[in-house]
């Protein structure tokens, strides 16, 4: 095989790898069920870094004891969070170690436990402190790159503005950001080109 032919193999395989990255993300965005997720109150010190927005969702912090499904998780464990539609945001129903069977309109989004905190919660009925597990979870939808300077709009919404995200969740549980919504209207929408 000549040098040119061997180099062509390198170019083709590396290009295919890059196209696969794009194709997998587009597959999730095009075939996934669309869910709307609420973002957490924004901490200006951590939200905007450089020219990308760091997003924190209500479902980024989970208390397994308050949800159905499995209870004990450790750091870096994979998990599936089952969501069902509600108005205006989708809400978590149960959390599982393995992909669960879904009912009706439900979707399961795949995440990874970042860290686990053990806290105590006072139970007034028994006068005892009940141990609870609070975990921070990452779903791969926490970064959103915006044109330089425009992150400020999301970082410090005006009074009365609410930032939420439209997310596509595919059958395997992979998630991708479809649109950034301000007061329910799409401010940024993802397209292939």
């Amino acid at each position: 095989m000549t040098v040119t032919a061997r180099l062509a193999v390198v170019v083709v395989l590396q290009t295919l790898a890059l196209f696969t990255m794009i194709a997998m993300k587009q597959w999730t965005l095009n075939t996934g069920t669309l869910v709307v997720l609420e973002t957490q109150p924004i901490d200006p010190r951590s939200l905007f870094r450089g020219d990308y927005v760091r997003l924190n969702y209500r479902i980024s912090e989970l208390k397994p004891q308050e949800l159905a499904g499995d209870n004990e998780f450790r750091r870096h464990d994979p998990l599936y969070l089952v969501l069902e539609p509600d108005d205006p945001y989708w809400r978590p129903v149960s959390v599982h170690r393995r992909k669960p069977t879904l009912a009706g309109d439900q979707v399961a989004i795949r995440g990874e436990v970042q860290y686990v905190n053990h806290r105590g919660r006072f139970d007034g009925a028994t006068n005892e402190i009940e141990p609870i597990q609070v975990m921070q979870v990452r779903y791969g939808i926490e970064s959103y790159f915006v044109p330089e300077g425009e992150g400020r709009v999301l970082e410090r919404p005006q009074p009365g503005e609410v930032v939420s995200l439209r997310i596509a969740v595919d059958k395997a549980g992979n998630a991708g950001i479809k649109a950034v919504l301000v007061n329910g209207e799409a401010r940024y929408t993802e397209r292939l080109f």
Binding site: L7, A8, R75
Partner: protein, 454 residues
């Protein structure tokens, strides 16, 4: 031998070889032209400038587009990213096919590999791909390895290994786990390094293995009880000892001799570092305070079994070298080395059965053998003609001496006496050690593989 000296010798000798019929007439001038064209200094400079140029160009391109990114539509961004990478590979193909500028061709090929990595990061940015972040570096390393194999490119191989280290560092430090998959990538690099006899890549591969072994220590320190640190440090020492013996054995095979001395050097350095850690009385005592190993339960049996497994590996490597080197009377330095190694292994195994009260005594014994080991290394290095081994023997001898001086006298002496005595020790000891080192290394040739870059 330096290139210009070799050329001078050839110019003097070739007419004689032609006269005696060993070289055909005309062949002498072809040989001289060939050797002169490979002038190591010129080659190295051309190589170094090409590589620096590529790195500057690569970082310039990436920062230029990063600064103007927001202004471009997605399709233009993609055209620039893919077009840049294809253009670099196209230029590399042209230069490598022509064959008259192989160094520049390899440098441009490396630019293609750099742009492939930049494309992974920038496409992840364009499409908001926020997955398990070390995977991006793994893909980059795999792309570099592919280029190294198919184009026989040593710079791409070094890039693949360097990115592999970055990958394992991210996996270990970011996710607190022992990262075994690195070994698969590392092993995948070896056949090509062996086939092409790449010295620089062999150095980087060994360095990568040692850095990985340090990364492995991190999660163990976080996740396991303190007493394991002592056992794990002992395994490290046995593993590096086995690697050193493997280096001696490799030296006996012509095909892999190019890497034998390199293996010995890195293994000697890493082995001495772990041995040095074991000489600290605090390390021997405090790690065991976490629990008496004799009552530690099944975990302790795991520690003993793993230690025995490493001893078996060490003995196997030693036996392999012994069998390969059996060409007459075994040199004295090897006999002393075997005796010393035997004592060290006994000490390491005995140490598994002792509680923290014996920590001080064991530290004393480890110190005795540590100093014995450095003296042996100096002796072996001088017999093998390896200046590096002699030098690190002296360095660790001096380091051990200074450390024990601090341990012993810091609390005993008035601070001013401590520093005055320490200063005198440094002056006299430094003079003595340097004189001995110079005397031993004076007659040795410069280490092979330091006269240019392939």
């Amino acid at each position: 031998m330096r290139h210009h000296k070799f050329l001078k010798l050839l110019r003097r000798e070739l007419p004689v070889w032609v006269e005696r019929g060993w070289v055909t007439p005309g062949g002498d001038s072809a040989i001289l032209e060939h050797v002169a064209a490979q002038g190591s200094g010129v080659r190295f400079l051309a190589y170094a400038f090409s590589m620096l140029g590529v790195l500057l160009l690569g970082s310039g391109i990436i920062t230029y587009f990063a600064a103007n990114w927001a202004l471009m539509p997605k399709i233009i961004k993609l055209v620039i990213l893919f077009g840049g990478m294809w253009a670099a590979y196209g230029a590399a193909a042209y230069l490598l096919q022509r064959g008259d500028s192989p160094q520049l061709g390899q440098a441009i090929l490396l630019l293609g590999v750099i742009l492939f990595g930049a494309n992974i990061m920038l496409i992840a940015q364009i499409y908001h791909i926020d997955s398990h972040y070390p995977d991006g570096v793994l893909s980059w390393s795999a792309g570099a390895l592919l280029a190294a194999y198919l184009l026989r490119s040593q710079p791409a191989m070094i890039a693949a290994l360097g990115l592999g280290v970055l990958w394992t560092g991210m996996e270990t430090l970011g996710f607190d786990r022992v990262h075994w998959p690195f070994l698969i990538l590392w092993l995948a690099c070896l056949p090509m390094i062996y086939r092409m006899q790449w010295r620089a890549s062999a150095h980087v591969a060994l360095l990568a293995l040692l850095v990985w072994s340090v990364f492995v220590f991190w999660p163990i320190e976080w996740l396991l009880p303190d007493v394991w640190l002592l056992y794990v440090m002992q395994w490290y020492m046995l593993a590096y000892g086995a690697l050193f013996l493997l280096g001696l054995a490799l030296d006996t095979y012509a095909r892999v001799a190019f890497v034998g001395m390199t293996v010995q050097r890195y293994a000697a350095f890493a082995g001495l570092m772990s041995f040095y850690a074991l000489t600290f009385p605090d390390f021997q005592t405090h790690t065991r305070d976490a629990g008496d190993p004799l009552t530690a339960g099944p975990e302790w049996f795991v520690a003993v079994a793993a230690s025995l497994a490493w001893v078996v590996v060490l003995v196997a490597a030693g036996a392999w070298h012994r069998q390969r080197a059996r060409t007459g009377k075994s040199p004295a330095y090897l006999a002393w080395g075997q005796a010393l190694l035997g004592l060290i292994v006994v000490l390491l195994m005995v140490n598994l059965f002792l509680a923290s009260e014996q920590g001080g005594l064991m530290a004393g014994l480890f110190n005795l053998l540590f100093f014995g080991g450095t003296v042996w290394l100096i002796y072996a290095g001088s017999r093998l003609g390896d200046r590096f081994l002699v030098n690190i023997g002296f360095v660790f001898f001096a380091l051990g001496l200074l450390t024990r001086y601090f341990d012993t006298f810091w609390t005993l002496l008035n601070r001013s006496y401590f520093f005055m005595l320490g200063g005198l020790l440094l002056l006299v000891g430094g003079f003595f050690v340097e004189r001995q080192r110079r005397r031993l290394t004076a007659g040795m040739a410069p280490p092979p593989g330091t006269q240019g870059v392939e």
